[in-house]
């Protein structure tokens, strides 16, 4: 796994995306899976950018590896403990007035990854995901 560590802010996103896309270009990856991978990255990373550090100062480390058809991603921060897998299910009401979009990002991630785990270790939040990129 290669790693990239950058300040936890929205301006870092393009570099994280290019880092992962660079990794994907080394393997046989279906074109259609690029937007899906970008969506997973954006949802997971923006959560860290906006919520991990109360004072807005901190770093996020992304580890990325491609093994066969599986892309492995691991996102780690030193912010307050937060397990996104504990988030309540999103509000999927059909009524525009009642509808909210909180929790939708992590819901997309759960729908699109093949495997996802969270651990709190050494004062770090570590979210690890595996995604099949053959389709």
């Amino acid at each position: 796994m290669d790693t990239l560590c950058l300040p936890a802010r929205i301006e870092s996103f393009t570099q994280f995306r290019d880092f992962v896309f660079g990794k994907l270009s080394e393997g046989k990856v279906a074109e259609a899976s690029f937007p899906k991978i970008e969506l997973i990255l954006e949802e997971v990373l923006t959560n860290v950018f906006y919520y991990a550090y109360a004072d807005g100062q901190g770093e996020v480390e992304l580890a990325c590896g491609l093994r066969g058809d599986m892309l492995h991603l691991s996102v780690a921060d030193r912010g307050s403990p937060f397990n996104p897998l504990d988030s309540p299910p999103p509000n999927l009401s059909d009524d525009i007035e009642e509808r909210t979009v909180g929790g939708l990002g992590i819901y997309f991630v759960r729908e699109m990854v093949d495997d996802i785990t969270y651990e709190r270790r050494d004062n770090r939040n570590i979210l690890t995901m595996s995604i099949n990129v053959s389709q």
């Binding site: 970008e38 954006e42 009524d95």
Partner: protein, 112 residues
């Protein structure tokens, strides 16, 4: 390409041709443009997403915020031409059933 939005008045409706990406970085632009239309009295919007390549939950949030404002003014926003991952994201999030969707812009205009 980031986000490009072209607007054109068609009868009572305004067609927004949305191109590129609607994500955490560009969603505020979408809100600003829709707020401008609403302030000018345009409350019947058709968003043609045929050239939108990418949308995230931040993009959906900006659409929902606009839809809520329009609803309060007896207006609406409807959608046409969804393709690829944009269509998938609308489906997963239930936006396809919450909003009026059309396959083509002509159909959307006829339904307005």
């Amino acid at each position: 390409m980031d986000l490009i939005i072209e607007t054109a008045k068609k009868g009572k409706a305004v067609v927004l041709t949305v191109k590129g990406r609607l994500d955490a970085a560009t969603a505020p632009e979408f809100i600003t443009i829709c707020d401008g239309l609403i302030a000018a009295g345009d409350v019947s919007l058709i968003a043609d997403l045929g050239q939108l390549e990418y949308i995230s939950s931040a993009g959906l949030r900006s659409i929902l915020a606009t839809a809520k404002k329009l609803k309060g003014l007896q207006g609406q926003i409807i959608f046409c031409n969804l393709t690829g991952m944009v269509k998938d994201v609308f489906n997963i999030s239930g936006f396809t059933t919450m909003f009026t969707m059309h396959a083509t812009l002509d159909e959307a205009l006829a339904g307005c």
